[in-house]
Symmetry: C2
């Protein structure tokens, strides 16, 4: 049987050591290049169109793509690729930045709940509730016991939304320290990208190994049957986009989607539409004086 | 001086009679075909990227594209085209359907305010607050005096958001009665599109002339200096997408956008990044036993 991208990238059992995961490997990379990309894009478009159609006809199913990773790992790039592949009206994008005062006044899952996708929609989270365990661990603003409570709350939350019809696809975009250096330098050297650079990025980069440990903990604690983690090698932008596209494709294929066929009398409707008077002028019925046509 | 799409499609002064506006004409259509489309898409991508960058650096400017039109006029199609042309992370899409109980419990502008785009973002409204004057007029659920109050409230609302940094681009996608027939028949005849068909669509189609009058009133009453209406001939999907893309392009060009250049010592940052130790392994610093590499 053909190996799936799900199989190839799913987190391996046991203690998580990210150094054991390649950042530049390309499992199940497509050898067809642009041709494969085009095919993926067409298949995704069709699948997502069916998901959306089902949502419009009462299905509760939806997909939540959670993107996590170090700065420059490509969360925005994946979003652009995935959303660019499908009809944007069926995708809902949400970026989670540093929490606001209002957000901090609530439970940490509050802001995330508000931006969950509706039925038929693919939600994309650029960062997520995982920031609320990563950052507090690295900056030591929560105790280990408090972190454990949050891991449990996240698992419960993901179990709850899965039961309500959401398929959750969690991707850790895995880049090397060297790749981040190159991408930060690219920002420094390109006047069109300098606006993305923030001095705070350097301070966070200095905490790379602390973030690595925080990610290892989170991957281990929040990898569940209903919402598993995938580790996506992300040194190559092209491969990263392809791999996430494949994860999404497999997810949608497994849902066995179909275009709803409303139980209407199509012959009668066709007859009604074709038997109308040919081409009445716009708006002249009530005006009756034929003042149209400039 | 070159004529702009703004000039070509802006609502003409005086009483509005939609029969006087062609649905199949193609003012300023691009003769370059796919080449022109590609260029438009590239220019839009760059302009929107600058708008987004300015938003990330404190600018309050943003764009709101309001799409109105009869059923099948292409509000979703324009959205897909426009959003497909630019980076999706800088676009926020909002569709307004029949108001919910909660929405009806508030002022009619309440739900619209909640979905206004943030700084740097292009908001796309697929239907909008205009539904709340169109439908009540056609179905006679509001008196003329109540409608006048809503027109005034809309003008005041658009003046307020414009003053706060939003450029509003309002497009009426103008199709003929015959084009709607063809598109509804296409839904009937294609099992992949039947899910979009709703018997209520036929009832609304029967009210075509009433909707035309309602649109004429709304175009006339809510066409202001700060938020003018554009009438986009929309019998041709290709032209319709091109024309809205051009309106957006001209809007963004007039904003004189630039990539922010943060006042940082770029040489120092470049030096910091390049003088680091070459390629530290991920996560091994703290673990120290080199158990990486599977």
């Amino acid at each position: 049987m053909k190996q799936t991208m799900h199989d190839a990238l799913v987190l391996r059992p046991g203690p998580v050591v990210l150094a054991g995961y390649e950042t530049s490997s390309k499992p199940l990379a497509d050898v067809r290049g642009d041709k494969g990309q085009l095919e993926q894009s067409q298949v995704l478009t069709e699948l997502q169109s069916m998901l959306y159609a089902e949502g419009a006809h009462g299905s509760r199913r939806r997909v939540l793509l959670v993107l996590q990773g170090m700065d420059t790992s490509g969360k925005g790039g994946v979003t652009n690729h995935v959303v660019g592949s499908v009809q944007p009206i069926g995708v809902q994008y949400a970026a989670f930045k540093k929490p606001t005062e209002e957000e901090l006044a609530h439970d940490f899952l509050w802001r995330v709940r508000q931006r969950l996708p509706g039925p038929g929609v693919i939600g994309v989270f650029d960062r997520s509730h995982y920031e609320d365990v990563l950052v507090p661990r690295v900056h030591r603003t929560l105790t280990d016991a408090e972190l454990e409570l949050r891991y449990a709350a996240i698992n419960e939350f993901e179990r709850e939304i899965t039961a309500a019809g959401t398929t959750v696809v969690k991707c850790f975009l895995h880049i090397s320290y060297e790749t981040q250096r190159e991408r930060l330098l690219a920002r420094v050297d390109d006047p069109r990208k300098r606006w993305k650079f923030d001095e705070a990025d350097l301070a966070e980069r200095a905490l790379w190994s602390h973030y690595t440990l925080a990610y290892e903990a989170v991957l281990e604690r929040c990898h569940t049957d209903v919402a598993p983690w995938f580790v996506v090698p992300a040194d190559s932008k092209k491969y990263r986009n392809w791999a996430v596209g494949q994860l999404l494709r497999e997810t949608l294929e497994a849902m066995d989607l179909h275009y709803p066929q409303p139980a209407l009398d199509w012959n009668e409707i066709r007859e009604l539409l074709t038997s109308e008077a040919p081409r009445p002028s716009v708006g002249t019925q009530e005006q009756g004086d034929g003042q149209g046509g400039e």
